[in-house]
């Protein structure tokens, strides 16, 4: 009993809490970046693009390949990273465009679940293509960046983490600007709500939908590069879990809502970190970190019970 209390006290110290918050924030930012891509596509055609996780994976793989290729070239590491990111963004944009063109566009008028199955099919295809190209083994990121470790109040974090959080915020703000303040953004929203009427207004809906896929995939590539440089590991199946988490995050925030995706991602990251970090002690080790994924889902369920369309849920605009 006494020992138990002492253990609780140990894990409740400020620096541990701070560390867990940092952990959660970074993880959350990663989820958020992937979730933004999900939401982008969902927002416009209401499709849960299950293949988005695979786009992220391809993004990571391409970046790794380019970076490994250039690693010996004597260029400055930052330049190499930049090129890696760029190539991966371009490849993913093309991939996103192709996905939309080949797999989803023909299904615009199909029953709701049809594109969902296509998405699952595409996800299997992409995984196996990646397996054929990059092999079954785990791939490591060449140590390009000098990981700087900073210590603040007993908690530590790296420059990569800072970059991830910063980038996620930047990307989200950029997207919100794009969607809510620009002409193409307005066209996207209009297309999402009523594509036929949108085309009456002069919106080329094919172009707009393709754009959403391309932007979403570019985001996927950025996310992939971030994930890659943070964890320094890649595998052809990495996209699935990541995609699932991001999808959860997107729904938590209110799928289709950009700020929601961001909030959902961060929240999910924090829940996981704090859940894994504290639930064990709080429940006298009755529940432990093995229930980490459950916390996320339970929070999700509770949130949705009270806000059926997520935290930032799209205002519905439905009425009888």
């Amino acid at each position: 009993m006494v020992r138990h209390q002492r253990l609780v006290a140990e894990s409740l110290t400020m620096d541990t809490l701070l560390q867990q918050l940092i952990n959660g924030l970074t993880l959350g930012a990663v989820y958020a970046l992937v979730a933004l891509g999900y939401t982008m596509v969902y927002g416009i055609i209401g499709l849960i693009n299950f293949a988005h996780g695979e786009v992220v994976m391809i993004g990571t793989m391409v970046a790794f390949t380019v970076i490994v290729f250039l690693a010996g070239s004597g260029m400055s590491p930052l330049l190499i990273l930049g090129i890696g990111l760029l190539v991966s963004v371009v490849v993913c944009m093309v991939l996103g465009w192709a996905l939309e063109r080949v797999a989803y566009r023909p299904l615009r008028h199909a029953p709701r679940l049809t594109p969902l199955i296509t998405a699952i099919g595409m996800s299997i295809v992409l995984q196996n293509v990646a397996m054929i190209i990059w092999g079954r083994n785990y791939i490591t990121f060449p140590p390009m960046i000098n990981k700087q470790i900073y210590e603040v109040a007993g908690a530590s974090f790296t420059n990569v983490q800072v970059a991830i959080v910063f980038l996620a915020a930047l990307v989200m703000l950029g997207l919100i600007y794009l969607v809510h303040r620009t002409r193409i953004g307005m066209a996207m929203r209009a297309t999402a709500q009523n594509p036929h009427v949108a085309s009456l207004m002069g919106v080329d809906i094919n172009r707009v939908i393709a754009m959403a896929f391309i932007i979403g995939s570019a985001l996927g590539a950025v996310a992939g590069c971030m994930v890659g440089s943070y964890y320094e590991i890649a595998h052809y199946q990495m996209g699935f879990m990541l995609g699932l988490k991001a999808f959860t995050a997107a729904v938590l925030g209110g799928i289709g809502n950009l700020a929601g995706a961001m909030a959902g991602g961060l929240l999910l990251g924090l829940i996981e970190a704090l859940g894994a970090g504290y639930i064990g002690d709080l429940t006298g080790n009755f529940l432990g970190s093995h229930y980490q994924d459950i916390f996320a889902f339970i929070v999700l369920i509770i949130v949705l019970m009270f806000r059926p369309s997520g935290l930032f849920g799209e205002r519905t605009g439905d009425r009888a």
């Binding site: 253990l7 140990e10 894990s11 110290t13 541990t16 560390q19 867990q20 952990n23 959660g24 970074t26 993880l27 990663v30 196996n128 397996m131 092999g135 079954r136 083994n137 785990y138 490591t140 140590p143 990981k147 470790i149 210590e151 530590s156 790296t158 994930v227 964890y231 320094e232 590991i233 595998h235 199946q237 990495m238 699935f240 879990m241 996981e272 970190a273 704090l274 859940g275 894994a276 970090g277 504290y278 064990g280 080790n285 432990g288 970190s289 093995h290 980490q292 994924d293």
Partner: protein, 384 residues
């Protein structure tokens, strides 16, 4: 005609094998089945196993082994069970249908166990190179064997090593909630406690995770002397890096799943000083070990983890056939139980359940990016 009547009818449906004396055929084909996941998250391990078995088959063929007066050409029938228990039984049946003489596999306990019932019914010897769940050999099947130490055997060695030899008093134990990680970690916990150490943290992750900072932070607060991971190298690699980033000082230990060159590749510099265990003896101590290493690397690249064991598993089957002077499962199965074979992983003998007898466990330390032998426990003759 009716098909399969296991056991009783076994002599008849092994035509490839039987076809007694008269025809002085120079060569007959004997199929050996191999099953592992070749797709899915641990496909890299599956392929590794298959490559090990393939190398063994090639080596055996090169020796032009003669059994019952005929030159035997071995053929490997590789199947993919996707690490899915259901698929595992289907491919097991497929191998039975194909009249293989024996099976090496499966890789995971989750598929090995349900499949073992099918092999058992057909009287086919099955040797798993990597399934370590103790239950596999506890089902009472006379057909089930493994050339790898089970979780209990290995867990107690590495746990005791950490507590005694490394002098760790406070343990943090993490497992990946797979059958393997969970089983091994539980055994380590037992061994550590038995050796008088305390477990200050018991944390969990999953085999697809890449972010361990939350549990590591928690562990850091408990200030353990050693962290044990029951899990695979793909989990261990990133985990080690994160341990470093968080400034945790504890020593890192793990079992065979993480005791691989792959871990060194994935963790880079962070893998320095890791202590880990493998079943069997270190290759350099074994006459054939080094050669296997070279041959394998030349042909298939780096070893992942279990290919030496699948190599041995094939060789054990071949050896039993030789001794029985028959490729008929009914005839040579009893000989498998009596195996005493010097493999690339050490001396292989089976106990009455089919587990490796007094299987050696070797403890390694990663030094200068290489697995360096610290100590071997158990193991008979060949090693010591």
């Amino acid at each position: 005609g009716k098909k399969e009547e296991p056991k009783a009818a076994a002599p008849a449906p092994a035509p490839a094998a039987a076809a007694p004396a008269p025809a002085p055929k120079p060569e007959i084909v004997v199929k050996i089945g191999h099953v592992a996941p070749l797709t899915g998250p641990i496909a890299h391990l599956g392929k590794d196993n298959e490559n090990g078995a393939r190398l063994a088959v090639d080596d055996a063929n090169a020796k032009k082994i003669e059994i019952d007066g005929k030159v035997i050409k071995f053929e490997l029938l590789g199947e993919d069970d996707q690490a899915d228990p259901k698929t595992g039984t289907v491919v097991a049946q497929k191998l039975v249908d194909a009249k293989v003489a024996g099976v090496v596999g499966h890789l995971n306990s989750g598929t090995t166990i349900p499949a073992s019932a099918i092999y058992n019914q057909s009287g086919l010897p099955q040797i798993s190179p990597s399934a370590t769940n103790p239950k596999y050999t506890q089902q009472g099947f006379n057909t089930a064997f493994r050339v790898m130490a089970n979780d209990i055997q290995q867990g107690s060695v590495i746990g005791t090593y950490a507590a005694k030899d490394m002098g760790a008093k406070k343990f943090a134990i993490i497992d990946d909630r797979t059958a393997y990680g969970q089983g091994l970690a539980d055994e380590v916990e037992k061994a550590a406690k038995a050796a008088g150490a305390t477990v200050v943290a018991r944390e969990f992750t999953n085999d697809k995770a890449t972010d361990f900072k939350a549990i590591l932070t928690k562990i850091k607060a408990k200030n353990p002397d050693v962290i044990f991971l029951g899990g695979m190298d793909a989990v261990g690699g990133p985990m080690l890096k994160q341990i470093k980033e968080l400034g945790i000082k504890a020593k890192f230990t793990t079992g065979d799943g993480g005791c691989s060159p792959e871990l060194i590749k994935l963790a880079g510099a962070a893998s320095e000083g890791v202590i880990c265990s493998q079943a069997g003896l270190p290759p350099e101590k074994l006459p054939n070990g080094q050669k296997f290493l070279e041959d394998f690397t030349k042909k298939y690249g780096q070893i992942q983890i279990y290919s030496p064991y699948s190599y041995d598993a094939v060789m054990v089957l071949v050896d039993a056939m030789k001794r029985a002077n028959s490729v008929d499962p009914v005839k040579y199965l009893p000989e498998v139980g009596k195996t005493a074979y010097d493999g690339v992983t050490g001396k292989i003998e089976f106990d009455e359940k089919g587990d490796i007898k007094n299987g050696a466990i070797t403890v390694f330390e990663i030094k200068d990016g290489k697995l360096t032998t610290l100590k071997s426990e158990g193991g008979t003759a060949a090693g010591k």
